[in-house]
């Protein structure tokens, strides 16, 4: 895993080895431009009539994308079939809700504890679970989901709130700002969380840790024989994933001013799964794309009511079987073919690990 060495490039700036440092391929202008666009967007949107609505949609998109990315990190990259993602989201949400609701903490401070507690919970689940494989992980994480739900419904009153969840949690207050200006501040807060989570996940994927985990996913025997501590790597990955999921849970709780036990509904899990599968399982940008698609479509799908779940299930099944790569690789291929720069001939992969990494870096 000597890939990390290239990151701290020498002062003389030698030729960048793109195969070893794929993140260098993204021009700084693209990233900078996207961030600036993100900052300016609400200022533009407030000028148009449905702007407020679009901003709230974007906030929702940011949070869902964070959760979907975190899930993709362990599911798509790590090959850990964990279904505890929504439960970890709820752990984060409940942590901050209890701190703000029962102890009267400031929402901004309370929210900082959400990811920490979610991380601790993840380590707690991970210790017995992550030594096992596939189907066992599915079962134990589903069990955790179910236990968390039962606890949230029937637990002590300061947690269950009588069975429906905590419904009067203080929302974020920015001084005396109200109305549209407050929405814009909420948007920026969500964006900051999204940017941090995306950046960290991006770096994790392209760190030695990420390379190790994809190597393990693609050939466990090989990875283990190269001295990768499978359990430790998976636990770290699981903890990172839980951290951001919990953070998103904390934000959403204060954004909505409460958290209800309906977060445990299976449809939430399915929505997130759909984001990952439709966008692109095990690709960096896939879950972000998927979140945008699902949240964008959702506004129209409301009209078809109960048919939504039917279509969602069928689409999931069809994509999983007939286009398991999802949409992102298709978009990327089209981009490379018509708009992208000339392809440099990729150096021959030196080892299976490097191969696994080059195969799975689908970022742009």
């Amino acid at each position: 895993m000597s890939v990390g060495g290239v990151v701290t490039a020498a002062p003389s700036r030698p030729e960048v080895d793109y195969a070893a440092a794929p993140w260098q391929r993204v021009p700084i202008y693209v990233i900078g431009g996207t961030v600036v666009a993100g900052i300016l967007l609400p200022l533009v949107l407030t000028r148009i009539s449905i702007g407020d609505y679009l901003i709230t949609l974007l906030i929702l998109f940011f949070m869902q994308a964070v959760v979907a990315q975190s899930w993709n990190l362990i599911m798509g990259y790590g090959g850990i079939y964990s279904f505890a993602q929504v439960a970890l989201f709820a752990v984060g949400g409940w942590t901050t809700a209890v701190l703000a609701h029962s102890l009267g903490w400031n929402p901004f401070i309370a929210m900082l504890f959400a990811p920490v507690v979610a991380l601790l919970a993840a380590v707690g689940i991970g210790l017995p679970t992550l030594r096992l494989r596939g189907v066992y992980v599915v079962l134990l994480t589903l069990a955790f989901h179910e236990l968390a739900r039962v606890f949230a419904v029937t637990g002590p009153r300061f947690i269950s709130g009588g069975g429906y969840g905590l419904v009067s949690v203080p929302t974020f207050q920015f001084g005396n700002v109200i109305g549209q200006q407050r929405t814009i501040y909420l948007y920026y807060l969500a964006m900051v969380i999204f940017v941090i989570a995306t950046f960290v996940i991006w770096r994790v994927i392209h760190s030695p840790l990420g390379v190790a985990v994809t190597a393990l996913r693609d050939s466990e025997t090989y990875g283990v024989s190269r001295g990768i501590n499978q359990f430790r790597i998976r636990l770290i990955l699981f903890a990172i994933s839980a951290f951001f999921t919990g953070l998103a849970g904390g934000y959403m709780t204060h954004y909505n001013g409460g958290i209800s036990t309906s977060v445990f509904d299976f449809s939430r899990l399915i929505d997130l799964l759909a984001m990952i599968v439709i966008g692109g399982w095990g690709t960096f940008a896939g879950p972000i794309l998927g979140a945008a698609i699902i949240i964008g479509l959702d506004q129209y799908l409301v009209a078809i009511g109960d048919y939504r779940a039917l279509f969602e299930g069928l689409i999931l099944a069809v994509i999983a079987v007939f286009a398991p790569q999802g949409l992102w690789p298709v978009i990327r291929k089209t981009y490379d073919k018509y708009l992208g720069p000339e392809q440099q001939p990729a150096p021959a992969p030196a080892s299976a690990a490097a191969h696994a990494e080059t195969r799975n870096e689908d970022l742009k």
Partner: protein
């Protein structure tokens, strides 16, 4: 005390046979196809609703509806195999694809059930009505039927796998796919048959259970989770394990329920399975091959 004890044993044996019935299908599919069928609960729902439809819309007796439900679930499972499982057999992403596809199918099925029938709880009439009282505990004849059917099915499946040509083919495919196909066993077709049998078993469970647990579009989910637990407890792919684990877990859950309260039943089972996995990671009768998925 004595009443409570009889109550716990009766409930445990009843639950156990039910769990065993569901787990039998799951474990068969896992053992032969290496497919974790998360749509097993959907097959349960398909069978139960098919029987409900026959009874309440065609006004036929439940004894006609029972085989209809079983066949409907088996046919649905076979269709699922043709459309969603067969295209990915032998492909590298088999685990991912089938996991997501079966989740998707189960969502679609419960949504369809919601659309066709309304969300109200349905009642399927029991095959046998009436009950008797033993030591102060009500023993329903339907419950006895469930236990008897479950035990009989275990015996039939065991004999089928051991003595018939098709059963031997299934075992051959599950042990060595390449060798089996060299012996001119149609591997993919055998997979389809196993999946259909498993669907039929889930459908049967659905029809037999719906009188006691009410029928709703999502009512397959909990039995499926229980069946997963039983399957893992007994060892994935082991028919004997599913039977034993079904009864062990059923009796355990029932005793916890009777003596500590209903709220502790599910946490208790989960704690038991976690302990089990720490002590014996392959389950009671696991074959030790936990590599794929």
């Amino acid at each position: 005390m004595s009443t409570q004890f009889v109550q716990a044993v009766w409930g445990g044996v009843l639950f156990g046979s039910v769990y065993g019935l569901m787990a039998l299908g799951l474990t068969l599919v896992w053992g032969a196809v290496r497919l974790l069928n998360l749509a097993h609960g959907a097959l349960f729902v398909v069978g139960a609703y098919a029987a409900y439809w026959v009874v309440s819309f065609l006004h036929l007796p439940i004894l006609v509806a029972l085989p209809f439900g079983v066949l409907a679930a088996a046919a649905f499972a076979y269709l699922m195999h043709i459309i969603f499982i067969r295209p990915v057999i032998g492909k590298p992403g088999f685990d991912n694809s089938t996991l997501v596809a079966t989740v998707g199918i189960s969502i679609a099925v419960s949504a369809a059930a919601l659309l066709i029938f309304n969300p109200q709880y349905k009642v399927v009439p029991p095959v046998l009505s009436g009950s008797t009282i033993v030591a102060g505990v009500q023993i329903t004849y339907q419950g006895l039927l469930v236990i008897g059917t479950s035990l009989a099915l275990f015996a039939i499946v065991y004999a089928f796998l051991t003595y018939t040509r098709l059963g031997m083919a299934i075992r051959a495919v599950s042990q060595q796919t390449e060798a089996a196909s060299l012996m001119s066993i149609p591997v993919v077709q055998t997979y389809g048959i196993v999946i259909a049998i498993s669907g039929g078993l889930a459908g049967l469970a659905g029809v037999l259970l719906s009188p006691s647990f009410f029928l709703s579009p999502n009512s397959g989910f909990n039995p499926m989770i229980q069946a997963l637990i039983v399957t893992i407890f007994g060892g994935l792919g082991s028919v004997r394990g599913a039977l034993v684990a079904g009864f062990v877990l059923g009796v355990f859950e029932s005793f916890v329920e009777v003596f500590y309260g209903v709220g502790w039943a599910q946490p208790g089972v989960f704690i038991l399975i976690i302990l089990m996995l720490i002590v014996r990671p392959n389950g009671l009768f696991g074959i030790g091959e936990v590599k794929r998925l």
